[in-house]
């Protein structure tokens, strides 16, 4: 099974994504994609670690190349978050590359390995502001990836100020 949890900034998507796997009794992996760079990133990472404490997750830090992850069959994984992974892949070299296919093949691989794959992603395209060419390209690729993930996901849940709203499938 695959579930996508989407929302804006601080909308409760992480808490909800973790809650989905509360009842999962097997081993759970947390795939962290945020590079610990700068004070704000460290604060965010520490806050998320605190939230996950005692919830039985094994953390895997993978900032790019999620297609290299191998997980034993039958477990669950929570990947957080697509916004960081996409930016890390896009802006790692001087030349911007479109990582859609690479990321999607990684997602497909993970989905085939685990019993339940939960992915936290971001809605980044609703502020109506015209940004630089690079940022617009990031918004386009994020939207592409979100659409592609939604196609293969069983459930797509949007979080609005902490309230889960089912867009596809059902609430878990």
């Amino acid at each position: 099974m695959m579930t996508v949890v989407i929302g804006g900034s601080k909308c409760g998507k992480s808490s909800y994504a973790e809650k989905i796997l509360d009842s999962f009794t097997g081993k759970k992996f947390y795939i962290a994609t945020m590079i610990p760079y700068g004070d704000e990133a460290h604060t965010a990472i520490e806050r998320h670690r605190e939230m996950r404490r005692n919830k039985g997750f094994d953390t895997i830090e993978k900032y790019t190349d999620i297609d290299e992850i191998y997980l034993p069959k039958g477990y669950a994984a929570l990947l957080e978050c697509m916004g960081n992974l996409c930016a890390n892949e896009m802006f790692k070299d001087e030349e911007i590359t479109a990582p859609t296919e690479k990321i999607m093949s990684g997602i497909e691989r993970l989905k085939a390995q685990v019993q339940h794959l939960v992915i936290v992603t971001n809605n980044v395209s609703c502020d109506g502001i015209a940004y630089s060419k690079e940022t617009m390209e990031y918004m386009r690729i994020m939207a592409d990836i979100n659409r592609r993930m939604a196609e293969i996901a069983d459930n797509v849940i949007e979080c609005v100020y902490g309230i889960p709203v089912p867009l596809k499938g059902m609430l878990l």
Partner: protein, 126 residues
Amino acid sequence: MIMITGGAYEGKTDFVKNHYSCKITDGKSCDFESVFTAECVNNFHILVKRLIESGQDVLAFTERLCKENSDLIVITDEIGCGIIPLEKDDRIWREQTGRAGCIIAKNSDTVVRVFCGIPTLIKGEL
């Protein structure tokens, strides 16, 4: 408590005017203390900005609000669905609005999201 949310100019205030008879206090300009006895506070996201600028603890204020004025109608924009702002103050505002909004939503019996003037009930009942 009732929460009405959605993007800017989507019809949130009109929805409140059409469904409830209440006096609307504007979070853009009101006295902070007046919110604790108000019937409805509009532009809660701007109130958050003003609270930050005056050095107040937004989350403590919001918790107190939920406790002391549990019949309040809160109207707030959804502002988190975009690119992370370049300015640190904007990032703090956006994040605190998200967190405060989660507290309001949790304490609300009813949450309505208005989009293109169309209300969608996302929590409780009307």
